[in-house]
């Protein structure tokens, strides 16, 4: 495995996913770095589906990050910076995505931004194809309600 090549081939694709999930560039860059370091440490050579493999690791990295942040929520209270996060989100649709629960957010990102098929999403999330279908339906409904309420 040549990590350099893997990075150059997939970093945009993986960054899109991570950025979609956290919607903050600096945070997303740190998580992108963590993702590829994890890949290097794992050192798996016989990966057939790099996209799926990297997305799975990126997803775990994002969830770990959220879990850790949840634990030190009291510290975040003192960071005024977090208040400015919304400046990055210029469009209503971005705010709408931000409001979605992680479960719904990730299906919409994997579908609309990473352009994956239902079966691929199901494989990465370890859920049934039918669940992907219903979660996407719910995500779109919530986004629709958010946008209608907003205008």
């Amino acid at each position: 495995m040549n990590i350099e090549k893997v990075f150059l081939d997939y970093n945009d694709y993986i960054f899109k996913y991570i950025y979609g999930m956290v919607q903050n560039r600096a945070e997303a860059e740190d998580l992108l770095q963590d993702t590829f370091i994890k890949v290097m440490k794992a050192g798996n050579k016989d990966i057939k589906n790099w996209k799926g493999y990297l997305l799975t690791i990126a997803r775990n990295t994002v969830y770990d990050h959220w879990r850790k942040r949840k634990n030190k929520i009291n510290l975040d209270f003192f960071k005024l910076k977090t208040k400015n996060n919304d400046i990055e989100l210029k469009l209503d649709i971005e705010k709408g995505i931000k409001k979605l629960s992680p479960k719904l957010k990730e299906v919409i990102i994997l579908r609309e931004i990473n352009r994956l098929e239902y079966q691929e999403i199901a494989d990465i999330l370890g859920i049934e194809k039918g669940t992907v279908k219903s979660r996407l339906s719910r995500a779109r409904e919530e986004l629709k309600n958010f946008l209608e309420g907003n205008t």
Binding site: F7, G20, E29, L91, K133, R140
Partner: protein, 143 residues
Amino acid sequence: MNCESIKELISAYIDAELERADILRVEEHIEKCENCNNILKSYQNISSRICCIEIPKSSEKVFKRIMLFPRRKVYRLRKIAVGASLLVILGTLFVPLLRNEEQIAQENPKDYYIVKEEKTPYSEVYYEREGNFVLTSYSGGSF
């Protein structure tokens, strides 16, 4: 055909993830039902708006940091360290067996000769082997 069951299908319809029969069901229903038609349009609109989201590119420094991350060297060194510490552990286990000088002296008396023998108050027997004095037996009084 109720709207509720169609609503579930509309999302999959725009993702082109429906079976032919379901596609026909949705299209047939949408023609007649304005409400569901509006849902379809707003879902399509949401899709195109998400596609418009400008996602920044990750900066060069991420690539540099990843490339600078110590890779194989660290893991090779670690392997060596693990191997070495295993050898040390195994070594200390076998040392007592190898170092039982008395046994060796008894088995090969020619390699050893007595250099000092004290009788009082206890008897100690020293052997010399390759320049080292080794106490090999001790008997007699208590401390």
